[in-house]
Amino acid sequence: MQVNRAALFMAINNPRFIEAAWTRGVDGVILDMEDAVAEPHKVDARKLPTEVYPQVSKGGGIIQVRINHMYWEADLEATVWPGLSGILYPKSESAEEIRRVDAKITTLERARGMRPGSVEIQPLIETPRGVVNSYEIAQSSPRIKSFGGGGGIGVDVGRDFGVEIIPGAPQAVGDYNAECELVARGLEMTVSAGAKAGQGPGGDVVSGNIAFEEAEANRKAGFFTGRLCLHPNRVEPMIRGLTSPPEEVEEAAQIIAKFEEIDAAGEVSCEFRGRTVDKWEADRARRLLEWADACALKDRKKEVAMKRAKAELGVDF
C-alpha cells in the first residue's frame, strides 16, 4: 500500500521551492511542468528532472511529475528517469491517449534501465469529456493504481463550462469527483481524491487548519488518500489528519477481536460499545490497521532518509 498523504506541489523550475522541498516532511512531491510553468519556459523546464529528482527526494518523499497534455511525448522523454514514481496526466479524455502514454513510458523504462511497469500513471479528470469517459480511462492501463477527479475543486471543468466552481455551492457541475470515485471503487482501485475534500487548490491553499479539517474528514469517511498541497503550511496538518490516531487503531484491533470471537461462536453480528460489529465492520477495521501500519512504515523511512540527508549536508533544523 503506497502512502502519499501530502504531496507538495511546485513548479519544477522554481529553485527556491525545489531546494527546500526535502525539508518539508512530505510523503511526496509533485513537480509541475504544466500550468505552473509559463509557456516560454517549458523547453528549459524539460532539462531539469535529472538534476531535480535527487534534491527533492532526500527527505524520503516519492516523486511525481505533472506533465502537459499537449506536450506529453516531449515531457515523458524529459521526465521518465530513475527516481520517478509516477506521472500525472492532466485533462485525460480517452483510453486511447492513456495507452499511448503507457507505451511511451514502457519504451523509456527499457531504454533507461528502470524496472518495467514501475512508473504509475494517474489520469487527471478535468474536462466534461473526461468525466463522460472516466470508466474506460480508469481501465486503460495497468499503470493506473489510483483514480479520482482532478485533485482540485474543478477549475478546469469550470473553465470548459464557462463558470466558476464555488466550493460548497450546490452546482450540478461541481460533483464530478464523486462520479470518478464511484468508478474507482467499482474497479476496486484506490480513490485518489476524497469526496469529503472541500477546499483544494482553487480555494484557500495556505490554511493549515482547513487542510487538517479536510484530511480528518477524509480519514473518518474511510478515504485513506492524500491530496496535493500548494503550500508547505498544509503538509503537516494534512499528514496528521490522515494518520489514524492511536485510539482509533486500538479500537479497530478490539473490533476485529470481537468479530473473530462471535464468528467462532457461529454468530454474524453483535453490539460493541453502542455499535454493530459484523463482517463489514471487521473489514473496515482491518483496512484501518493496514493503513496505520503503512503510515508508520512510511514515517520510519522518512525519518531515516531525513537523518541521513542532514548528516551528509551537516545541517540540523
Binding site: 468525466v131 463558470v163 450540478a172 457541475v173
Partner: protein, 314 residues
C-alpha cells in the same frame, strides 16, 4: 451552416392566441417558440395553416423563431414549420437517436421543398423522460442539427412519482449533472461554448412555482443556473424574459473579478511565473485566465446580441 448564437431566453408562445403570437417579439426574448406541441389535436390543422404567416412576427426585432413539434405528428408539424425565417425546431421528449434521425430527415426534405438553405434549421432536444436522460449521449450526437439540449422537469418528476422540496431536488444532481456533462462532452465546440448549448433552470422554478415567481426570483434562478453550466432557459411567460436575459449574462462584478484575474496572471507570466497569489490564500493559473477570457467573451456576445435586437427594434 448554423450561425453562432446567444439564446438566454426562449419564450413559449401559445399559438391559439393570435395577439400573443403577433406581440411575442415585443417581449425582447432572444428566441420565440411557437408551441404547436401544446395545441389540442382537433385544433392542430387550423394552427398549422397559420404557422407560415406567424414566423415573421416571431422573428421580428431580431428575435429568432422556433416551433415546438410533437413526435406523434412529426411530418405534418415539420412540414408546417419549415419556412424561410425559421431558426429551428424544438423536439419534445426524444428517447433515442432514431427519434432525432427521423426529425433530421424530415427537416431536410422540407428545407428542399420550401426553399430553405439546406442544413440551416437547428434542432433543440427537450429531454422529458428517464429513458431520454439515460440516452442523452446518442440523442445529442444523432444529427449535426442538434445544437441545444434542454430539460423539461415536469414529465420526469411525474414519471418518477416524486415532488421536489427545498431540501431534496431529485433531479438536481443526477439528471442536471448528467445532462451538462454529456452535452459539454460532445466533441464539437459550437458558438464559443463547450459542446452543446444547454437550457435549464434549477428548483424551485423548474417545476411548479412558475406563475408566482417574481422577476427577482427568476433572475436569481437564472444566475444560479448559469453557475450550473446552463446557457439559457425556456420562459413559460413574458415576465421571465428580461430576468433570464439578465441572469444568464455575466454580471459587472463578475467581469471586474475576471479582469483582475487576467491582470494578475499576465503580471506573473511577465516575470516567468505560471501561478500567482490572488489574495485570501488563493492562486491564479492558466485555467483561471482561460475562464476569465471565456466569461468576458460571453459578456461581449450578450452585449452584441442586445445591441442587435435594440437596433432592429428602433
Amino acid at each position: 451552416m448554423i450561425k453562432e448564437f446567444v439564446r438566454r431566453s426562449l419564450l413559449m408562445v401559445p399559438p391559439s392566441d393570435r395577439d400573443a403570437v403577433e406581440q411575442a417579439w415585443t417581449h425582447n426574448a432572444d428566441a420565440n417558440v411557437f408551441d404547436l406541441h401544446s395545441v389540442p389535436y382537433e385544433q392542430k390543422n387550423g394552427i398549422r395553416a397559420q404557422l407560415r404567416d406567424a414566423i415573421p412576427f416571431l422573428c421580428k426585432g431580431a428575435s429568432e423563431a422556433f416551433v415546438n413539434v410533437s413526435q406523434a405528428h412529426l411530418h405534418a408539424d415539420i412540414e408546417a414549420a419549415v419556412w424561410p425565417g425559421l431558426a429551428g425546431i424544438l423536439l419534445s421528449y426524444p428517447e433515442s437517436s432514431e427519434d432525432v434521425s427521423k426529425v433530421d430527415q424530415t427537416i431536410g426534405e422540407m428545407e428542399l421543398k420550401h426553399g430553405v438553405d439546406v442544413g440551416t434549421i437547428e434542432v433543440v432536444v427537450m429531454i422529458g423522460s428517464m429513458k431520454g436522460v439515460w440516452n442523452i449521449p446518442e440523442i445529442c450526437t444523432a444529427s449535426p442539427r442538434v445544437t441545444t439540449i434542454g430539460l423539461d422537469d415536469e414529465p420526469i418528476l411525474e414519471e418518477l412519482g416524486v415532488l421536489p422540496n427545498p431540501d431534496i431536488d431529485p433531479l438536481g444532481h443526477f439528471v442536471r449533472g448528467r445532462m451538462v456533462y454529456e452535452a459539454a462532452g460532445i466533441d464539437e465546440t459550437l458558438h464559443g461554448h463547450h459542446g452543446l448549448y444547454r437550457l435549464g433552470i434549477d428548483f424551485p422554478l423548474c417545476s411548479f412555482q412558475r406563475s408566482s415567481a417574481s422577476p427577482e426570483e427568476v433572475e436569481l434562478a437564472a444566475h444560479d443556473a448559469r453557475n450550473s453550466a446552463f446557457n439559457g432557459a425556456i420562459c413559460p411567460s413574458p415576465e421571465w424574459v428580461e430576468p433570464c436575459n439578465r441572469g444568464f449574462t455575466p454580471t459587472d462584478a463578475q467581469i471586474e473579478h475576471h479582469h483582475k484575474v487576467q491582470e494578475t496572471y499576465a503580471a506573473g507570466v511577465a516575470i516567468g511565473r505560471g501561478a500567482m497569489p490572488f489574495g485570501d490564500g488563493r492562486f491564479v493559473e492558466r485555467p483561471y485566465d482561460e475562464l476569465a477570457k471565456k466569461v468576458i467573451t460571453l459578456r461581449e456576445q450578450c452585449e452584441e446580441r442586445d445591441a442587435e435586437k435594440k437596433s432592429a427594434r428602433s
